[in-house]
């Protein structure tokens, strides 16, 4: 085994530390072409990743880029920079370390291209951008190692596909490149290794000692959780008590809106004035950085946060993690638990706080799963082709390329090993000409072929391609600022759709403050501070994760029990009440309840198929109902159930759920629904069909831009075989539509339907009425209501 060089040996012993076995292993296998390290949080995983680079650089003074580090979070890249510079400085190593993200000033980014540091810390998006410049071969010349941190998190989204295409490009530029993936929570290590590996070729897996099991339980509260909705307000006294008893507590929420409300309420109850902050992705960068800095200094006793603190950053001395709301999947829960106690061989301490009674059941199931060390996760499909289209365009921006060589390069990336040449050529054609069946316009030519190479027809379009790089397609948002003469303090962002519903005087929460909407000026929402009214809540976009199959199955198994000694009394009583008034859902039968409520007919189907599949079920059901003249008005889906409401009562739901009917309806429906249009929009942005909305562009003439829905409808009508429609279908099926899990639900219930007509809302159905994300049905009922509403407004204005 290679001995640790003296400066490193001294540095470790000066601190009374010993190198961890897995860090030693990483050094020993420094020459492996690809390596996946699975080590618990706090196990010195990042240092393990960097050790081979540091040792190599310590022994060979050189110029140019040696190691590229890629992280899913900008903040993580900056934090790692700080953590790495400390030991490098203390050992006196001649190593230059810099980070480069969207937040890096343009002047420094330019300088980095001219004179790259030894170690560059960046994100997948910044790497894609670097690779799209003509000087990429020079910038990356001599690159020896790539470290991908939190590789499991990147693998969950298209950012991972983009990154793997980028690594394939790097591998061609630097043939001896070695890659390392780091991860703490992996449900299927061989699959993740295949994702990371350069093909053909494998990726070794190195597993560190997982450390002791976490100390995790459900928080007992004096007040029972509410019947519905929630957000954990009932638990505030108990949570404050825990905050008091620990040094630093992270309080995780599943959505930004919930984090905002909770923080507001927590602050109202915080009589002692404990220093508590809030951190989420919709807050202004300045606000987030303030909280991060305060936490690193140990000035905060607690931070209310969302997924923005899920990963990596090692701040402060967190000794307790509280998860408010059901964790939805076990892997994410384990990841969050790992945020506590960043010390190897000490158990992490965590408390679960179910926000309502249903979540008590889900939390109990999650505790079981954590105890069994059983992670969950859906298998990854083949690499999405919209990302490939973007990659082709980015390649063209970097310079002329030969199609066959690019195909070979792309199929060297894990997610694209199965890509056929025909599929590749279709993407290339799309990038070059738009790929339309109608070929009348010779100007439809973005790429042209010259001397056997593809290149941009107009070199100026490279700038446009670079501006559209990246695979994160956000809902359009508007900045929120405090109104004053000097431009105002930035507070954060709200969804444009939410801003459109505001009228002057409305109040909402952002960054824990109640603010009053004053008006919209140049695409900025202007607000004033106001604390005298109950706020309306900002509907931040927040990724909604579906509860995993594993957790759903555990919950259904729990329902089969006669009694529930493991559950708190209030929840056990609630389930007993549901059993008495209606029935409890079962795994092999579909429970359907119908009841009237507030003058509308309602239907609930308890499919337990996860939010996305339940949403698809809602779309299919309402389509059937529309055809049957039952005037559906809308629906809302949760992980467990779909609630549909309409004008007419449903007396016999069974025909609506026939598998053949649903499957038949699926093909038609798939084409025309809102979920598809949303999926189309993201894929069209990623593939480069439509431009990203930049704030500057939106300011000029709103009537010039039109909805991507129009493009979708036009393609369906005139070019139904178009590549973008194929991609949209593929993406929707595995993502928002999740037809797979719907099929699985239909198979396990196999036509066995229990219909329970009720006089009023059932105990289990009650929470559904407080769900957000109601989907309207564009049908006859909408026209009918619209006619009524328009007539009412006309009469009211005396215009009839």
């Amino acid at each position: 085994m290679a001995p640790l060089p003296a400066p490193f040996q001294d540095w470790f012993s000066a601190r009374g530390w010993r190198i961890h076995p897995h860090q030693q292993d990483m050094l020993a296998r420094a020459d492996a072409p690809a390596l996946l390290l699975i080590a618990p949080t706090g196990g010195g995983k990042t240092l393990a990743g960097f050790l081979p680079s540091l040792v190599d650089l310590a022994g060979n003074s050189r110029q140019g880029l040696h190691t590229l580090y890629i992280s899913p979070l900008k903040a993580l890249a900056a934090d790692i920079g700080r953590n790495l510079r400390a030991p490098v400085g203390e050992m006196g190593l001649p190593i230059r370390i810099e980070d480069r993200t969207g937040d890096t000033p343009a002047s420094r980014r330019k300088r980095q291209r001219a004179d790259p540091p030894h170690i560059l810390l960046t994100t997948p998006e910044s790497l894609a951008l670097l690779l799209s410049y003509e000087d990429a071969p020079r910038v990356f010349a001599g690159l020896k190692r790539v470290i991908v941190d939190e590789v499991h998190a990147l693998a969950e989204s298209k950012r991972g596909d983009q990154l793997m295409l980028g690594l394939a490009r790097l591998q061609r530029l630097c043939p001896g490149l070695r890659r390392v993936g780091l991860s703490a929570t992996v449900e299927d290590p061989p699959a993740l290794a295949r994702f990371l590996a350069p093909h053909p070729g494998g990726c070794e897996i190195l597993t560190a000692d997982p450390g002791p099991a976490p100390d995790i339980s459900m928080l007992e509260t004096q007040a029972p959780p509410p019947w519905a909705g929630g957000g954990g307000r009932h638990a505030i006294p108990a949570i404050l008590n825990e905050v008091r008893r620990h040094r630093t507590t992270l309080i995780f929420h599943n959505t930004r809106a919930q984090a905002e409300i909770f923080f507001h309420d927590l602050w109202l109850a915080n009589d002692e004035g404990l220093p508590i902050g809030i951190h989420h992705g919709s807050l202004a960068r300045e606000a987030r950085e303030r909280v991060e800095a305060a936490m690193a200094k140990g000035d905060l006793r607690a931070v209310v946060c969302t997924g923005s603190l899920d990963l990596g950053i090692d701040w402060g001395d967190v000794d307790l993690v509280i998860q408010v709301g059901a964790p939805k999947n076990v892997k994410r829960l384990v990841q969050r638990i790992g945020r506590a106690n960043h010390r190897y061989n000490a158990p992490s301490k965590a408390l679960l706080v179910p926000a309502n009674r249903f979540e008590v059941v889900e939390c109990a199931a999650a505790l079981e799963a954590v105890r069994d060390r059983q992670l969950d996760g859906e298998p990854r499909g083949p690499g999405p082709r919209d990302v490939l289209c973007q990659h082709i365009l980015a390649g063209a921006a970097a310079g002329p390329f030969e199609a066959g060589a690019l195909y070979d390069e792309v199929t060297g990336a894990g997610p694209y090993t199965g890509l056929t040449r025909a599929q590749f050529d279709a993407c290339l054609d799309f990038a070059a000409t738009g790929g339309y069946a109608l070929r009348a316009y010779d100007r439809y030519q973005r790429l042209i072929s010259r001397d056997g190479k593809c290149q941009l027809r107009d070199p100026r379009s490279a700038a446009r391609i670079r501006m559209n790089l990246g695979t994160i397609v956000d809902t359009e948002t508007l900045k929120v600022r405090l109104k004053n003469s000097r431009g105002g303090t930035p507070l954060g962002e709200v969804e444009e759709g939410f801003a459109a519903t505001l009228t002057q005087g409305d109040t909402f929460l952002i960054g824990g403050q109640v603010v009053r909407y004053e008006g919209l000026r140049e695409m900025v929402v202007e607000v004033t501070r106001r604390a005298d009214r109950t706020p309306r809540v900002a509907t931040f976009m927040g990724t909604k994760f579906a509860t995993s199959t594993q957790l759903s199955d555990r919950i259904l198994a729990m329902f089969r029990q006669g009694r529930w000694p493991a559950l708190p009394g209030h929840t056990a009583e609630w389930l007993a009440l549901q059993r008495a008034l209606s029935q409890l859902p079962e795994r092999d039968r579909l429970l359907v309840e119908t009841f009237p409520h507030e003058g509308r007919a309602h239907l609930v189907a308890y499919g337990f198929a996860g939010r996305n599949a339940q949403q698809t079920l809602g779309l299919l059901l309402t389509q059937q109902m529309e055809r049957a003249g039952l005037h559906p008005l809308g629906f809302v889906a949760t992980d467990y159930a779909t609630l549909v409401w309409g004008l007419d009562e449903i007396t016999d739901p069974a025909p609506l759920f026939r598998t053949e009917t649903l499957r038949e309806g699926f093909a038609d429906w798939l084409a025309g629904n809102a979920v598809m249009k949303r999926t189309f929009r993201s894929s069209a942005v990623i593939a480069g069909l439509i431009d990203r909305m930049t704030p500057g562009r939106r300011k000029t003439g709103r009537q010039a831009t039109f909805s991507s829905d129009i493009l979708y409808d036009t393609l369906r009508k005139y070019d139904p075989g178009h590549l973008m429609l194929e991609i949209t279908r593929e993406e929707a099926l595995k993502g928002l539509v999740d037809f797979g899990r719907l099929e699985e639900m239909l198979a396990r219930t196999s036509g066995r339907i229990t219909h329970v007509p009720l006089p009023r809302v059932s105990p289990l159905a009650a929470p559904l009425f407080l769900e957000v994300g109601r989907v309207p049905v564009k049908g006859a009922a909408e026209e009918r209501l619209m006619a009524e509403e328009a007539a009412r407004l006309m009469a009211e204005a005396g215009l009839g």
């Binding site: 738009g434 379009s461 439509i690 709103r702 070019d719």
Partner: protein, 222 residues
Amino acid sequence: MSGYDFTLSGARLTARPSGALWWPDEAVLVVSDLHLGKSERLARRGGALLPPYEVRETLARLAAEIAATGPRTVLCLGDSFDDLAAAGSLDPADSAELARLMAGRRWLWVEGNHDPGPVEIGGTHLAEFRLGPLAFRHIAEPAARGEISGHYHPKARLSLRGQAVSRPCFLIDACRVILPAFGAYTGGLRCDDPVLAGLMGPEAVAVLTGPAARAMPMPRRG
């Protein structure tokens, strides 16, 4: 008929659910902001390669309106083409369809900011057009009366118990009508925008297009 009937300066008019305006007494059909050739123009200028089918789609809608009303005159109220070059670059099949629609009736092209000059397609090219009590021009003039215009692509939002519906709309008051955009690839300007709020009188009505024309008071900012 599912249109919205009203009177402007004594002329009886119908706002049709399609977004076209019909003047039965003179058999004039008015459409505004067709933006034909928008995808071709964007592609030519190195922009996005949008599906090149919007001319086909817009002409199909126009053909349906012509078939339904049987106009003696079709008046296109400006921005009929996304730019003048687009008018010269129509796909042959689309040109043939346009020629078929134009045959046997008077066809007037009122100029707009996107198509400020004559096009090499039949019909009469005009800066503005007057007939009886009405004046037709692309962009509304604040002091005008009996004016029919387009340009702004107005759209209105209606809130239905928590769900909002947004549709292109006509704006109508005692002095003027502003038409919605008829072209397939067109966005809209919310009618509570200060520009539109300033043009329209307090009694203005927004007529939403869609399966049926629906009148409501023009939404304004609180």
